[in-house]
């Protein structure tokens, strides 16, 4: 791989040990994936933040990097294992809280903005079209590549950190035009509406892509979609299909840039949406937990929740997971007061995928297909998907 003088200096250790180790990681990955050079990145999103996933080993690695490592570009964090202010109310034990804060402190020492959210693009880590970035967090990778038209590979925790400490990423994969073409034409011949239904659509397409061994769908037949619907779709298609990029006719910015795929295609009809929805509802579920905000709820979603919850009382544990900055807007706007007045709880900085809540509830109802996957696989809950309105109906029943 070709390196410029600055990159060679980093590799030789002239900028310290953490930067040197980071350059070693990036060069090795670049060699494996046959990158010709390094490119500068505008920003980084780091995953592997929850102590539940990092463990003591991950934490030790972070501390070692934090000895002399400082980020060179705008860098934000994925959700942590707990709400940093409100963890006690949400039933997180103290030992976990201490360890979680040790991990966040190590990130902060490196100059990372400790936002702890899976929706960096909603809170200021917002690249523009065509910009190179290095993001972990599969749903945000899919959103930035597809909806924004920025360029990133699916980074893991250490490779994203390495990009942050060097400001570089190896130039391969989704950074290159030739790897961004749609591979499968998907015609949606059914109405799709709401975050839940866009999640169901993401599952259908994701499952089908795995079956076909393809990665990039070109989707037609969706006349319009909100940011919230697209964020739900991204999370789902990334979870079920490993998808990092899709094109959507008339909606995403690169839909017209490359030739449309023609040799591989499939159609989605109403029946399939109904049966995929049924797959996300477990038999015999007894719901004792309702959660909205996977990916993290936007201020628009929170405003809507406040409207729907006003004057009602929830009778089940009800979490709204969101980014701390979004929660602060909700505080200012008076939404928090209404929502908490109804008995629902905010869980900022965290989410149901990474919080240590395995086995704590029997059945969870959500509007997110991604949350269904991890609710089952990681937390051993029974799951049910429904619209925001259905989730509130269940919670207040």
């Amino acid at each position: 791989m070709r390196l410029n003088q600055e990159e060679k200096d980093m590799l030789e250790g002239k900028n310290g040990k953490a930067t040197q180790k980071s350059m070693e990681i990036l060069i090795t990955l670049g060699d494996i994936f046959e990158a010709e050079n390094m490119i500068e990145v505008y920003g980084v999103q780091i995953a592997g933040v929850s102590y539940d996933n990092l463990g003591e080993a991950g934490l030790e690695f972070l501390n070692e990097m934090a000895e002399d490592g400082k980020v060179k570009v705008l860098t934000t964090l994925n959700p942590a294992g707990m709400d940093r202010e409100n963890w006690q109310v949400l039933g997180i034990d103290e030992e976990f809280a201490i360890n979680q804060n040790r991990a966040i402190d190590a990130f902060a020492k490196m100059g990372i903005i400790t936002t702890c959210s899976c929706t960096p693009y909603l809170i200021g880590n917002s690249p523009h079209y065509g910009q190179h970035i290095a993001w972990a967090e599969s749903s945000a990778v899919c959103y930035s590549n597809s909806v924004i038209g920025a360029r990133t590979n699916r980074e893991g925790g250490p490779s994203a950190l390495a990009a942050a400490l060097t400001g570089r990423t190896p130039n391969y994969g989704y950074h290159l035009d030739k790897n961004r073409h749609g591979q499968v034409l998907v015609s949606v011949n059914a109405p799709v509406k709401g975050t839940d239904e866009f999640g169901v659509l993401g599952k259908i397409i994701g499952d089908k892509l795995v079956e076909l061994g393809k990665k990039i769908p070109y989707i037609t037949g969706i006349p319009s979609a909100t940011v919230e619907e697209l964020k739900s779709f991204c999370a789902s298609v990334a979870t079920y299909g490993g998808t990092a990029l899709f094109h959507m006719d008339g909606i995403t910015p690169e839909y017209n840039k490359y030739p449309k795929p023609s040799d591989v295609r499939f159609e989605i009809i109403q029946n399939e949406i109904e049966s995929a929805r049924a797959e996300l509802i477990d038999d015999g579920i007894e719901i004792d937990f309702v959660s909205i905000g996977c990916p993290h709820a936007s201020i628009h979603e929170i405003a809507n929740l406040a409207k729907l919850l006003e004057g009602k009382k929830v009778k089940k544990e009800f979490w709204i997971t969101t980014a701390r900055p979004t929660k602060k807007i909700a505080d200012e706007a008076g939404y928090t007061k209404i929502i908490e007045g109804a008995g629902a709880k905010f869980a900022a900085d965290t989410c149901c995928v990474v919080a240590p809540i395995k086995g704590r509830f029997k059945g969870i109802m959500v509007d997110s297909a991604k949350a269904c996957y991890y609710g089952r696989a990681k937390n051993k809950f029974k799951v049910k998907i429904g619209s925001i309105e259905q989730c509130i109906e269940e919670a207040t029943r």
Binding site: K21, T28, G48, N53, L54, G55, A57, G58, G156, G157
Partner: protein
């Protein structure tokens, strides 16, 4: 017999080979405290990889696996070197952060469990000593 592959991570190591045809997920599939493979149904289930030259086709599973390898290194339960048919991101990053010599693009069917191997990660070669 000397085999030429590709350098993944520098350094040299010598040890007894433990070979499997199955992929390895360090996160969840290997116990970092004991160094044993714990994945149910894995060809190496119950066997220790500590101090061995671990030979397998490629990595699989969660990216957290890189951190598990680091933890094994700190616990002194890690393998001394890794040889893959085709490296993946998780194992590559794990070797770099844990400083475990690693070579890939090796025809691993030439290697048998119990053979003594000399791995040169800096050159990208391995040698079957006996």
């Amino acid at each position: 017999m000397k085999l030429k592959g590709r350098k993944v991570y520098k350094g040299v190591a010598e040890g007894e080979a433990i070979v499997t045809k199955d992929g390895i997920s360090f996160y969840g599939g290997v116990d970092p405290e004991t160094g044993r493979v714990v994945e149910v149904g894995h060809e190496l289930e119950g066997q220790s990889i500590t101090g061995k030259v671990l030979v397998f086709p490629t990595g699989k599973g969660s990216t957290v696996g890189s951190y598990t390898m680091y933890r094994m290194k700190k616990n002194n339960t890690a393998p001394v070197a890794i040889v893959n048919k085709e490296i993946d991101t998780i194992i590559a990053v794990g070797c770099i952060i844990s400083e475990i010599p690693c070579v890939d693009k090796i025809n691993i069917s030439n290697i048998k469990t119990g053979q003594k191997l000399f791995v040169n990660g800096s050159e990208g070669t391995i040698e079957i000593v006996d």
